[in-house]
């Protein structure tokens, strides 16, 4: 039987705003399947986002949803989680939202290792505002504000998360749709701050400027560059040139923030 997405979609809130061929919807379906697998209770789950096309995702899901300001999702979510540690808190948003204006909140959420899952939809561009370059736009690529090619180096978002102290970091792609929910399930089950970067596509503002003739071509590129971490172990550096690792990239057990704060309360009350 086909999976019934409707049980998590808010009645009356579709159609969504995303363009045909946009990868964000694939990620949303993955998240819904993951929530279903884990049996997350809707009223006990908060989905928090920033601003951007990707950040519109929470509005479609029938949970406690918080569409914050540009870049601020991680900081709002920290307040929700610390106030109510028993809630499942999931963050989502775009590459620009999370790593430019929200970069500071992002790295500090990683550092605190607070038990939340952050799904970053990386389409390499500021989609919503019409295709200006983001910190994830590859060097040399075209955006509406890099007409001569992007001079900026770009972030490796997963590496950034690992470096900042996130204790679970995974990467998937919109092409490998069936893997998305599995990564998200593992991320949510992990006790600590987990980051799932999903490489997706923005045909409307990025694809057309960078000579992709179709969404299919953009999807095929994701298929070609993705190499599962396991497979990569058997490949040479030469073979890995231009490839992007997918799967669970990093996992570590470390003290979780709300649990540590519970100990602060214990110490304060023991005095």
């Amino acid at each position: 039987m086909a999976f019934d997405y409707d049980k998590y979609i808010r009645p009356g809130k579709l159609p969504h705003i995303w363009c045909p061929g946009c990868g964000h919807g694939i990620v949303m379906k993955g998240l819904i399947r993951a929530m279903d697998t884990l049996g997350l209770k809707k009223e006990n789950t908060a989905i928090v986002s920033g601003i951007g096309c990707a950040s519109r995702l929470p509005g479609y899901i029938d949970c406690c949803t918080l569409h914050t300001a540009h870049g601020r999702a991680a900081a709002f979510a920290t307040g929700v989680k610390l106030a109510k540690p028993e809630m499942n808190v999931i963050l989502c948003g775009g590459d620009g939202d999370g790593t430019a204006i929200g970069g500071n909140h992002f790295i500090h959420a990683c550092r605190r290792n607070i038990d939340m899952t952050y799904i970053i939809m990386n389409n390499y561009i500021y989609g919503m505002t019409g295709g200006q370059f983001s910190p994830a736009t590859p060097t040399g690529h075209k955006a509406s504000t890099t007409p001569y090619g992007n001079p900026d180096p770009c972030f490796d978002i997963a590496k950034l998360a690992i470096g900042a102290g996130a204790t679970f970091v995974a990467r998937g792609t919109a092409f490998h749709a069936n893997q998305i929910d599995k990564l998200i399930v593992e991320a949510i089950q992990h006790k600590g701050f987990s980051v799932v970067e999903i490489l997706d596509d923005c045909p409307t503002t990025y694809g057309r400027r960078n000579k992709y003739k179709s969404v299919i071509e953009m999807m095929n590129r994701l298929k070609e560059v993705a190499v599962p971490v396991k497979a990569a172990e058997k490949m040479t550096a030469e073979q890995l040139q231009g490839k992007i690792l997918t799967g669970v990239l990093y996992k570590e057990e470390k003290p979780e923030y709300t649990a540590e704060y519970a100990k602060v309360i214990e110490r304060a009350q023991a005095k």
């Binding site: 509005g59 406690c64 569409h67 106030a83 109510k84 500071n104 909140h105």
Partner: protein, 377 residues
């Protein structure tokens, strides 16, 4: 039973006032001259099972308290000038999404880093116009340690009652001076909590105006599912660009405060009955003004003071009424005339306004005010 008394600093009193009001979540970022609030909260909150978090910056602190408030906490942040500038983005979010929270801002010299340890009163306009767009504003300006304690409690009550951010803005002198404070007993001062929904989760809408201009607010994790956004929204919380809805909602958000000015605006009338020279003052400056009024009375001048306790909404009605009766207003303030402009707006040309404006980090002393009184003819 005798009451508990203490010798406290304004900032310490603010923290204790917050705790009396039921604050159980604090998010902050250190900045002089407000940091003592965070320090006291970090000690006291965990004792009562509350949460204290030091965020990566003031934007993060503001975001954290808004998130915590939506999850049902009573929340506080504290800051000063540069931090207030950073918080403005999300103070606007709190206004449009109608999330109760208290922002305690100690006024120091500015703009920018300005004078970190110098007193000032130059954030009073930022309290109203600092964040973009039309929005409600409530700002309280205490003048003593005791009053800081009481006004922080009132700020929590107002923010919960009207579902909106409320600012408390002592100047640095009030925030850092030490005075005797008498604590109220538990239950002696009213503590207000937000209206929670009376309808089932299925029927709940976060901006349901059938319950009035201040709709009940459910909290995340309490069985209610709802959407919150910083976009202009409909009663169910979802974004809209429909002209008539946006217009009505924006007007309601401002009206819920403005139409209740009589409930919110507080002030003190000192020696006003026969006064023809009236000082309009607030914060620590009002302490010099009181001294000056007393000295003037001794010299036979009919001087009085109208002390502003609630800066926003501004006491328009009261100042308009006074303007018809007096020979002149004197407005001493530690800025270049922010309150004076408001007084001028209210006076509508019926009384001259004499300003005493200092931005050198020094308090305005009583002699300056007394001298000015003598100029009013």
């Amino acid at each position: 039973m005798s009451k508990k008394v203490a010798f406290l600093q304004g900032n310490e009193a603010a923290a204790h006032g917050a705790l009396y009001a039921g604050c159980n979540f604090f998010g902050g970022y250190p900045i002089t001259p407000s940091t003592e609030v965070a320090e006291v909260m970090s000690v006291e909150l965990p004792k009562i099972g509350g949460k204290f978090v030091q965020m990566e910056d003031e934007i993060g602190a503001m975001a954290a308290i808004l998130g915590a408030s939506l999850a049902g906490s009573k929340v506080l942040t504290s800051t000063s000038g540069p931090g207030l500038s950073l918080k403005q983005e999300l103070i606007g979010y709190g206004c449009i999404a109608e999330i109760p929270c208290v922002v305690y801002n100690v006024m120091r010299g500015g703009p920018s880093t300005g004078m970190p340890t110098g007193p000032s009163q130059s954030d009073v306009m930022a309290a109203k116009w600092g964040t973009h767009g039309d929005h409600p504003a409530i700002c309280l300006v205490p003048a003593s340690v005791q009053e800081t304690y009481e006004e922080v409690i009132r700020a929590f009550n107002l923010s919960e009652k009207y579902r909106t951010p409320v600012m408390v803005m002592p100047d640095e002198i009030v925030a850092h001076m030490r005075e005797r404070i008498v604590f109220p007993e538990q239950g002696e001062v009213e503590v207000v909590s937000r209206k929670s929904p009376s309808v089932s989760p299925e029927q709940y809408k976060p901006y349901d105006t059938s319950f009035g201009d201040v709709p009940p607010l459910a909290s995340f994790g309490s069985g209610y599912k709802f959407h919150v956004t910083g976009l202009n929204k409909m009663q169910d919380g979802f974004p809209t660009t429909k002209a008539e809805i946006v217009q009505a909602e924006e007007e309601r958000q401002v009206r819920k405060v403005e139409a209740n000015a009589d409930d919110i605006v507080t002030f003190e009338e000192y020696q006003l009955d026969d006064a023809d020279v009236v000082v309009i003052a607030y914060g620590s400056t009002s302490r010099s003004a009181r001294y000056a009024v007393n000295a003037a009375r001794e010299q036979g001048l009919k001087a009085g003071m109208f002390r502003i306790k609630t800066f926003w909404p501004f006491p328009d009605k009261q100042i308009k009424a006074l303007a018809g009766k007096v020979k002149g207003f004197i407005v001493p303030e530690m800025n270049l005339g922010m309150c004076a402009n408001e007084v001028e707006r209210c006076a509508q040309g019926k009384a001259p306004i004499h300003g005493i404006f200092r931005v050198d980090g020094e308090p305005i002393n009583p002699d300056q005010i007394l001298d000015k009184m003598k100029e009013v003819k």
